[in-house]
Amino acid sequence: MTLSAESLAQIDKEIAKYPANQKQSAVMSALRIAQLEKGWLSPETIEFVAQYLGMPAIAAYEVATFYNMYELEPCGRHKITVCTNLPCQLQGADTVADYLKRKLGIDFGETTPDGRFTLREGECFGACGSGPLCLHNNHKMHTHLTPETVDKLLDELK
């Protein structure tokens, strides 16, 4: 088990931000980069990252399980995370969430049989003013969602 040269180069760039004896500081980035490449964090991937950073595997596993945006099981090509926290809820997030669930025929935490979509419930993204919101694969935010814009988005995501 290893990561691509590109991924490793990115990880090295992150490591360089911290004091030489503090490689572990880069673990959150390293896991993010590994997940980007592999789609999810398998035990082997986590162990590799831990070794690469010279930290105990269990410590890297602690990090991977503490933060919500890491995936510890295989998940769909497109992960849609909807914020349903109060401000978004007041602005209609529930309607959007229900629409997504119905349209994809899955609940939060589930993946479509074709492995195309995974749906997740998110906590405040810190962008409530533009709610309802969703994140596509953790990093791309889509704002002011309505059933119409949701349709458009889903069509784009092959």
Partner: protein, 428 residues
Amino acid sequence: MSATYTGTKVCLWTLDHADPASLETYVANGGYSALKKILAEKTPAEQIIEQVKISALRGRGGAGFPTGLKWSFMPRNYQGDKYVVCNTDEGEPGTFKDRDIVEYNPHQLIEGMIIAGYTLGAKAGYNYIHGEIFELYESWEKALEEARAAGYLGKNICGSGWDYDLHAHHGYGAYVCGEETALLESLEGKKGQPRFKPPFPASYGLYGKPTTINNTETLASIPWIMRHGGQAFLELGKPNNGGTKIFSISGHVNKPGNYEIPLGTPFADLLEMAGGVRNGHKLKAVIPGGSSAPVLPAEIMMDCTLDFDAIAKAGSMLGSGAVIVMDETTCMVKALERLSYFYFEESCGQCTPCREGTGWMYRVVHRIEHGEGRPEDLDLLMDVGRNISGRTICALGDAAVGPVHSFIKHFRQEFEHHIAHKRCMVGA
């Protein structure tokens, strides 16, 4: 006061320009001049801290702690590394102001962090950016590159012989990392579990070294203060509440968004700027300072001004300046259920009262919302809350209790109706 504020803005002024985020826009409007001046004149740290004290700048992260005072806690002649950390882990429901600073005025934050580093004798600075706004993690790193290229960062800054650098670090989905010591743990590559204080970061911070942590808006205000003087900043607001403040208004308003206005502005004016309550409904309640702040009923809120002291007097907190507006159609039980779920889901799990208590409170509120409430549940909730608050390692415990206590205090009859009739009294 009109429905729009045309006065001075400290942080979001770049939005009135074509290319708000660019280095050019920033420099063309006096950006980095404060830094250059300080480096050229070798302004003593004491003088800078003095100006910050005069400005009555209070922490914009939620606690409202006087920034000048916090800076004076950093050990002066400490041998070894010191750090400056910026808290952009904006995850408090209702808060979305720091993201706009990072997106539309990144260089002012950078200049603020550099001045802080110079003043506090730091070796480097880190900006911890909320994972869910990852695009800003990337854009801010680009801004850092620009600043480096322009000689504001790295070795021998502006020919002063002083070396200092800044880096971006991202979260990845944990609200508690907004708590300053959890943030430090996270920055060290661990679970984001808050540390017991004392020792405080100023003596034992990042990697065990003296560290100052400030909110994004706090640090972004520094260049303005150094350019125009502490007094000018103070006069933007009101005594003990210096400066303008970004209010993030969300919920049942026509124009949710960020409004940077002077501290002390009446809430009614902000509501007007935000286009008033959605489709002509009546205002029911407001959470004035982010989800952790106690909710206030409309009548109290409507004659309250927006500053730390006034809102504290009204029985809540200005917190992060996140104003969540709820109209008459809102079911307070459902609203509380969602907030209670949030704190239960986000508890780091290390200390007993929060780990066990937040789950307990959520499950009880959930039962009530789903028609399975029992008459004794409300007193139970109040009591469980009392057993959490003030007994935890960090303030998330108290934050979780704030909504529970205030919702029941101000809207008890609505909860009782849910329990008695197993359904909501608001037709929504």
